[in-house]
């Protein structure tokens, strides 16, 4: 069975990230086979300089347009550049990303300011999502980052998050390390 074409069709039609596990059970093959097919597709897109990219976002796969054509697509769709996240939003996102699942309370304790609005904003943008409640009085909601978060930050898994600087390290070193980590993602093949 030629699963590459079927996976391509499903990912195209789905639009959203599609779980590798569901593809495997649907096609009655192992997850490893699905990932191999995905790798073939991703390499193929990159090698042939096609207008598509296949991303691996944790346990899911998603088709996207090629980033180098982003400006063309934006013009064609008359889309504005999405506004950048504010430093406050980035900070909240970082707190949740590195401590997930995390409650709003943790965010507020770390930042020292009310963060309800910003948390709501990030949920609205689809970068974080509620994922249950903490089993303490008040049962506060727990948040985690989404597949869209990984996509927007060019990560293919949470393991690729820039390492947090230890007490001795300066932040510059952490940043340099981060850039490298991203390049090692699934998208590897995409970059020559």
């Amino acid at each position: 069975m030629e699963i590459d074409g079927i996976i391509e069709s499903i990912l195209f039609a789905s639009g959203d990230p599609f779980p590798v596990g569901r593809l495997a059970s649907l096609l009655d093959v192992s997850e490893a086979e699905v990932l191999e097919a995905a790798k073939r597709l991703a390499d193929f897109y990159a090698f042939e300089k096609r207008g598509l990219r296949l991303l691996r976002l944790e346990g899911s796969l998603q088709l996207c347009s090629a980033p180098e054509n982003g400006e063309w697509v934006r013009r064609a769709l008359d889309a504005r550049k999405p506004p950048r996240l504010s430093p406050a939003a980035l900070e909240v996102l970082a707190v949740i990303a590195y401590n997930q699942p995390a409650t709003r309370l943790l965010v507020e304790q770390l930042r020292g300011v009310d963060s309800g609005y910003t948390v709501g904003l990030l949920v609205e943008k689809g970068l974080i999502e509620p994922c249950g409640r903490l089993d303490v009085p008040g049962r506060p909601v727990l948040y985690r980052t989404t597949a869209a978060f990984l996509r927007c930050f060019g990560l293919s898994s949470l393991e690729e998050l820039p390492p947090l600087g230890g007490p001795g390290q300066g932040s510059a070193e952490a940043e340099a390390g981060a850039g490298q980590t991203v390049m090692e993602g699934f998208e590897d093949g995409a970059r020559p």
């Binding site: 990219r53 088709l63 347009s65 900070e91 996509r151 007490p167 952490a174």
Partner: protein, 251 residues
């Protein structure tokens, strides 16, 4: 932790960097923070030894550091002494030291998260230009494809007839309209044949062929049905109604 090594160098360096460095408590906190040492593990003697060694290494006396250290050491001794004297009783200074330490750790974590969020921002800039798409509209499945057991049909009918029995409406007693004595379908075919052979005909002439009332009724219904099905045309000529075949019905 038996005899922790206190990396004074780092403390002193950061002390030089920090403008708001202030008082012996801050120096203690710095020291504890940088070395990840709990308050209760502090051995002042070992701090002192290491401090002197450090100064010797520097081969010069930095009076500012020395005085800062002296203040810190005396404050630590003060806290330790009170802890020893008061036993398990709460020591105010100890508590404030602890909460200050927590605050310092919180700030440090926040600092590193801020640094990470800057790194994240750089990543986001690199990942710009990826566009996703919405789900492709799916063709609805039109054909009914659930499978049923044939027995479901029998059961449904049993239920229905059971209900009907209560209402005394058995299948035989269902009043159906009496069948027409003259078949309309046959009459319709007859009319079409005649129109094909003799061309447009007056309505009255078509009806006049009927030999009985029921045949006449069938002829009337056949005309109505043929007209509704767009097989024939009806035209009012002023003296009567002309019936003709609709275009395409000639063959």
């Amino acid at each position: 932790m038996a005899d922790p090594t206190f990396h004074l160098e780092a403390v002193v360096k950061s002390r030089e960097r920090l403008e708001d460095f202030d008082g012996p408590l801050s120096l203690i906190l710095q020291l504890l923070q940088k070395n990840r040492v709990e308050i209760k593990d502090i051995k002042i003697a070992s701090i002192l030894d290491q401090y002197l060694a450090y100064l010797a290494e520097m081969e010069r006396m930095d009076l500012e550091i020395a005085s800062g250290f002296a203040a810190m050491a005396s404050h630590l001794m003060y806290i330790k002494a009170r802890t020893l004297l008061r036993g398990t009783e709460e020591i105010e200074e100890m508590d404030s030291l602890k909460s200050s330490l927590e605050e310092l750790r919180r700030r440090e974590l926040l600092e590193s998260l801020r640094a990470a969020s800057e790194a994240l921002e750089a990543l986001a800039a690199g990942a710009e230009g990826l566009f996703t798409r919405t789900q492709e509209p799916l063709e609805p499945i039109k054909e009914y494809s659930h499978s049923h057991l044939a027995s479901e049909l029998a059961a449904a009918l049993y239920d229905l007839l059971g209900r009907g029995r209560e209402r005394a409406a058995l299948p035989q007693s269902v009043p159906l309209p009496a069948p027409l004595p003259y078949p309309v379908d046959g009459k319709a075919e007859e009319l079409l044949l005649r129109l094909r052979e003799s061309g447009p005909t007056e309505l009255g002439a078509l009806f006049a062929l009927s030999r009985s009332r029921s045949e006449l009724a069938a002829a009337l219904m056949a005309v109505l049905e043929l007209y509704r099905n767009e097989k024939i045309t009806l035209e009012d000529t002023g003296r009567g109604v002309m019936v003709g075949l609709r275009a395409g019905e000639g063959e």
